[in-house]
């Protein structure tokens, strides 16, 4: 699509054209559910259940947690098979700071790259400079400062960094509440207070000023980590998440197909308790969860990255 291409990258109120199509794809995923899948068969189930995208992985987070070892970008063969099987967007994860893995995934032409704390970080100091890529990135954040640092690096979508593979929604709730309340606070501040807030949050002043005006992140704000039931999906949606990632929650449950569909339904009808009730009606046993408070700091995934 090079013919008649609009020139003037960086010009215009909506930013460069590349940035617009990156955030544009994130916009298209709003209201939906993005599901972790480890093979083509699961991807097909997810698509049929109404997932708006899938995340191609070698192991779901709960297995990564159990088995330990170094978790890396998934095998190309697995990602390719999934890309060939479904028509919805396919995302894949890279280790924090591992820009060479990101280069590989861009060459593979995945639709979205997740620079994810679920994998073992490759760089404990630096995240990837995501503006260099044409493929959009999603990054995790526990609070507004972290979200804005990732956006400044070029993330086109933010998700909470709820404790992946725990089946426990508490961390995702904590992060979503933190992000939303910190944004609200900015809207009440005077111009001369915003610089101090930028310093406190460790975030660029320009983005802080923008949020003070709009009360919203400049990119879609999704939720991920520990979401295991339709009511979990409805909860984070009501707290401000514009879409939901479900990891281990679907394919580690006793009834993946029914559960996938039920979570999709609840994510859309999150404001209608009757619809969420209906979504729960048919469900079997959810994945077994972990109590995050019993976990040691070294076992927490959300503390990876900054």
């Amino acid at each position: 699509m090079d013919a008649n291409k609009v020139n003037g990258s960086g010009a215009g109120s909506k930013g460069s054209n590349e940035w617009r199509v990156k955030v544009g794809l994130a916009e298209m995923l709003k209201g939906g559910v993005i599901m972790d899948v480890t093979n083509a068969e699961q991807a097909k189930i997810a698509e049929k259940a109404g997932a708006c995208a899938v995340m191609a992985l070698e192991r779901v987070p709960s297995d990564i947690r159990k088995e330990g070892g170094v978790a890396r970008m998934a095998s190309i063969k697995v990602i390719r098979e999934i890309m060939a099987t479904v028509t919805i967007p396919v995302m894949a994860k890279v280790r924090i700071g591992h820009f060479a893995e990101a280069d590989v995934l861009q060459a593979l032409e995945v639709d979205f790259i997740d620079e994810s704390e679920v994998l073992t970080p490759a760089d404990e100091e630096n995240h990837i400079w995501k503006h260099d890529y044409r493929v959009p990135f999603v990054c995790g954040a526990r609070n507004l400062g972290e979200a804005l640092r990732r956006i400044a690096e070029g993330a086109a979508m933010i998700r909470t960094k709820g404790e992946a593979g725990s089946g426990n929604v508490v961390e995702a709730v904590r992060h979503m509440r933190a992000i939303v309340s910190q944004m609200k606070k900015l809207t009440t501040m005077r111009d001369d207070e915003l610089m101090r807030e930028a310093k406190e949050l460790g975030a660029p002043l320009e983005l802080i000023r923008q949020i003070a005006k709009t009360g919203k992140l400049p990119v879609p704000n999704f939720s991920a980590g520990g979401i295991a039931t339709p009511a979990d999906a409805a909860l984070v949606r009501r707290l401000g998440a514009e879409a939901v990632f479900v990891g281990s929650g679907i394919f580690k449950s006793s009834d993946p197909e029914t559960r996938a569909k039920a979570v999709v339904k609840a994510a859309t009808h999150f404001e209608d308790p009757k619809a969420v009730l209906e979504a729960h009606e048919e469900l079997g046993e959810a994945m077994r969860g972990l109590d995050v408070r019993q976990m040691e700091e070294k076992d927490m995934l959300s503390t990876r990255g900054w």
Binding site: M1, D2, A3, N4, K5, V6, G12, S13, K14, N17, R20, V21, G24, L25, E27, M28, L29, K30, G31, G32, E47, G50, A51, C52, A53, M83, T87, I88, P89, Q106, E109, V110, D111, F112, R134, V135, P136, E242, V264, T268, H269, D272
Partner: protein, 242 residues
């Protein structure tokens, strides 16, 4: 009813100021090239299908034009709408909600009763008579064949310009994993093209775009849709009086 009719209406411009204008519209949504300025008809209510996709971007665009919008997730929420927008998103996801929750029937009925409909990207796919790459079911409200993800994956998504009948200047088009209208039936009017393929089509008061006008600052396409809504609303009012 005469071929052309005149109507006086109150409009709100993008800058929020209200002004009155008198303009004429051709019946059945004939191109309104003679119209100038940013016109919106007060009192129309536009439903936006909000099961999944970029429904908020459409709502923001219509709010700029001063139209009242309502998110539609159930057949009941379609009641009282004069127009309906089928936003971008994933057509497989949207189709599932349409088929399983009675929305497909409700939208079919809405179209039959003369409601105006505008689908962008996934919405255009839902409106097509035939969907390929791969084959999938649809509402079949426009006689066209649409190929899904026809430009390739996200890396092929781009912002381009294409000629349009709605204004002199080319139209800015944001394609995101966009479809291509491979065949447009004889009763479809092509209002804009990109690379020799129809990108914006219309039959009566139903419109489809393979790109995302809601992701630009240009209100041209949505203004055109609001005019189609106004035509439909007036027909309904006219027939009730006569």
């Amino acid at each position: 009813m005469s071929d052309r009719w005149r109507r006086r209406t109150c409009c709100r411009r993008a800058d929020g100021k209200r002004f009155s204008s008198t303009f004429s519209l051709g019946v059945r949504g004939a191109a309104c090239g003679a119209l100038e300025g940013r016109c919106e008809v007060r009192g129309v209510r536009i439903g936006i299908l909000a099961v999944q996709g970029d429904f908020e971007a459409h709502a923001a665009m219509l709010a700029r034009l001063g139209a009242e919008t309502v998110e539609v997730r159930t057949p009941a929420q379609l009641q009282g709408c004069d127009g309906l927008i089928l936003p971008g998103g994933e057509s497989t996801t949207q189709l599932q909600f349409l088929q399983e929750e009675g929305l497909a029937d409700a939208i079919g009925k809405f179209a039959k009763q003369g409601g105006a409909i505008f689908g962008t990207c996934a919405g255009a796919i839902l409106l097509a008579a035939e969907v390929r790459n791969p084959r999938q079911d649809s509402l079949k409200l426009l006689d066209m064949t649409v190929l899904r993800n026809a430009y390739g994956r996200q890396i092929a998504s781009d912002v381009v310009n294409g000629p349009t009948k709605l204004k002199k200047q080319p139209l800015e088009m944001v394609f995101i994993r966009g479809p291509i209208i491979e065949r447009a039936g004889p009763d479809l009017k092509v209002l804009a093209e990109y690379a020799g393929k129809p990108a914006l089509v219309q039959r009566d008061n139903i419109m489809a775009a393979t790109f995302h006008p809601e992701l630009t600052d240009d209100t041209t396409v949505h203004e055109h849709f609001l005019r189609l809504v106004a035509v439909g609303t007036n027909h309904a009012a006219g027939s009730a009086i006569s």
